[in-house]
């Protein structure tokens, strides 16, 4: 069994490109070119130089000493929160903006949930001098105001998505509609390992730098390239895809994907897609998604805008179905508590998305000899308002 993508664009039975014909030329152009472009030495050079000097990579692999003592295991944090713009999202947008330039596109569109991907996209557009339009659900615009301001300062136009639940799913719909309306000059920078093939694979490859670094950093610190566990939160699944990537085929490394349970998996207000979802099609991909028996996509809920998505990338659907990864669902409350604990014990304010991954230690017991790497996908600046409200700070 392989856990990577096959030559038809599927992970097991998940993936593919279920797109209207209007999108076919753009998606096909990307499919035919992405591997070729990514393999070009000049592309690699430019990508790596930007990751180093602009993003600030490698991001540290930090041994969280006090947390390790408390949970009696060896906890390492992969510090994607220290990247420029504050999350792993920038790894992907740097890659995709270079791709867009190679494909001759001069107009960039993106969707965003928490606003991290929107900011990361607006940032690279400013860097390259390209027009940038970001679709964002009206609800998310309200709960992630600082990021909306950032995008505007960076020169992007933020367009509210007013349909459906007015969150990430609907922002994605609007971005796809924009792409249908602008079929020639526009590249759509998707923010996660979702969407039609080749997006999930392309985004995973751009994020794969995370696990590549984990390997050599761990070698330096522990004398092994292999952690016992890699833990990451999953919205669409891009930080998890990056953290898992180089370990996918090595089953000695156990993978834990943490989803948002919201107010409880069966509360009716949840985003725990693997448990609540069924096979179906969302945003051009066959994957697991939350839906009614009639096939209507349902509105997810999570306190974290970045995890508030009714689907999951096809790679993760396959990791779930095949049992390669363990899926854990963490409630709003448990995530918030774990986030505050990291503040108090390690002096790091995490994004609420990442706090879900950190909550794994209250949920699951690890051995004292286990090396557990947690993807700290982003920093909590954007979430201060939510933390303050939640804890009455």
């Amino acid at each position: 069994m392989t856990y990577n993508i096959n030559n038809k664009g599927y992970y097991g039975e998940f993936g593919g490109a279920y797109i209207p014909e209007m999108l076919y030329p753009n998606v096909e152009e990307l499919r035919q070119n992405y591997l070729k472009v990514m393999a070009e030495p000049e592309f690699q050079e430019e990508f790596n130089a930007l990751l180093k000097d602009y993003v600030g990579r490698p991001s540290p692999l930090y041994f969280a000493k006090r947390l390790s003592v408390k949970y009696n295991t060896k906890i390492y944090l992969k510090r994607e929160d220290l990247n420029h713009t504050g999350a792993h999202k920038i790894n992907n947008t740097v890659g995709q903006i270079l791709m867009a330039k190679r494909l001759g596109k001069n107009r960039i569109i993106a969707e965003t949930g928490a606003g991290q991907h929107g900011v990361a996209t607006a940032t690279v557009c400013a860097l390259m001098g390209l027009e940038c339009i970001v679709y964002m659900g009206e609800i998310d615009i309200a709960r992630q105001a600082p990021n909306v301001a950032r995008m505007k300062m960076l020169g992007a136009t933020v367009i509210p998505a007013l349909s459906g639940s007015r969150t990430l799913k609907d922002a994605t719909n609007e971005a796809i509609r924009d792409w249908i309306n602008n079929p020639v000059d526009t590249h759509y920078i998707i923010g996660s390992v979702v969407g039609p093939h080749p997006y999930p694979d392309m985004v995973a490859r751009f994020q794969a730098i995370v696990s590549e670094e984990i390997q050599w950093q761990l070698k330096e610190k522990e004398g092994t390239t292999k952690p016992d566990y890699v833990v990451a939160c999953v919205g669409g699944g891009s930080n998890a895809a990056g953290a898992f990537y180089h370990f996918l085929e090595d089953t000695e490394v156990k993978l834990i994907a943490v989803e948002a349970a919201g107010k409880g998996v069966h509360s009716g207000e949840s985003a725990a897609t693997s448990i609540l979802g069924k096979e179906g099609i969302i945003h051009g991909s066959k994957t697991l998604l939350m839906q009614t028996p009639d096939g209507q996509i349902t509105e997810p809920y999570s306190i974290s805008a970045g995890l508030d998505y009714p689907g999951v990338g096809p790679m993760h659907a396959h990791l779930y179905k095949s049992g390669r990864a363990e899926f854990v669902a963490i409630t709003d409350d448990d995530a918030m508590t774990a986030g505050l604990e990291l503040c108090k014990m390690e002096g790091i304010i995490p994004a609420i998305e990442s706090s879900h991954a950190l909550a794994v230690f209250e949920h699951k017991k690890f051995k004292s000899s286990d090396i557990v790497v947690v993807s700290l996908s982003g920093r909590g600046d954007k979430d201060l308002e939510t933390y303050i409200q939640h804890f009455g700070l």
Binding site: E21, Y24, P183, H283, D294
Partner: protein, 257 residues
Amino acid sequence: MNRINKKLKEDKKLLSIYFTAGYPDINDTVGIIESLEKNGVDMIEIGLPFSDPLADGPTIQASSTKALKNGMTTEVLFDQLKDVRKTVSIPLLIMGYFNPILQYGVEAFCKKCAEVGIDGLIIPDLPVDVYNEQYKSIFERHGIINVFLITPQTSEERIRFIDSISKGFIYMVSSASVTGSNSGFGDVQTDYFERIYQMKLKNPQVIGFGISDYKSFSQATQYAKGAIIGSAFVKHLTTKGSDDTQHFISSLLQPQE
């Protein structure tokens, strides 16, 4: 012979109308179909509403949301249509996104279509290659025609391929856009219509998206066998309700003074 093929053989330009099932009211579906036929419409696309219609603009999005709120489901639609062939004889197609059909089961869906007298399906997000590899035999077994889309950006090679596997008509999307934008047809569109006309495809073409009135209908049907009007009719249903299709249809077929 399938009703669609029979209709396409008629020596006239075809007027096809799209509307969303269960809109404005849940029980409007069959009444609208009957009055469309009575007023001279040649073919009908019944929209199976979906929560996330990617290829649709605000008008059809809003009608879909309302129809779902009204309680429309795949099951309800088939139930409403169970006696439609007692009163209606023009070709009927269902236009819907793939996920609801996948959940119903593609085979069960096609079987049910055949039972109630649906002649064809238009599924914008079911790609041609997936249809060809996985579902073609199911559709054919039940005598259901699957209609594919082409756009101004579709390559000639791909148009030829789509023509080769089509069994009814080709749905020509008029311009690069979601449904409901009616900026009228300029040179870009008419050049595209002309280009496709000159390809002399095996299947007749029916043009849709952005057709809203007599003028755009006549322009489109200069080049194609027929044209499909969707958002403009849905808008009419929104403002005038379901009892007044006659005026809308006659305004399409005759120049307005």
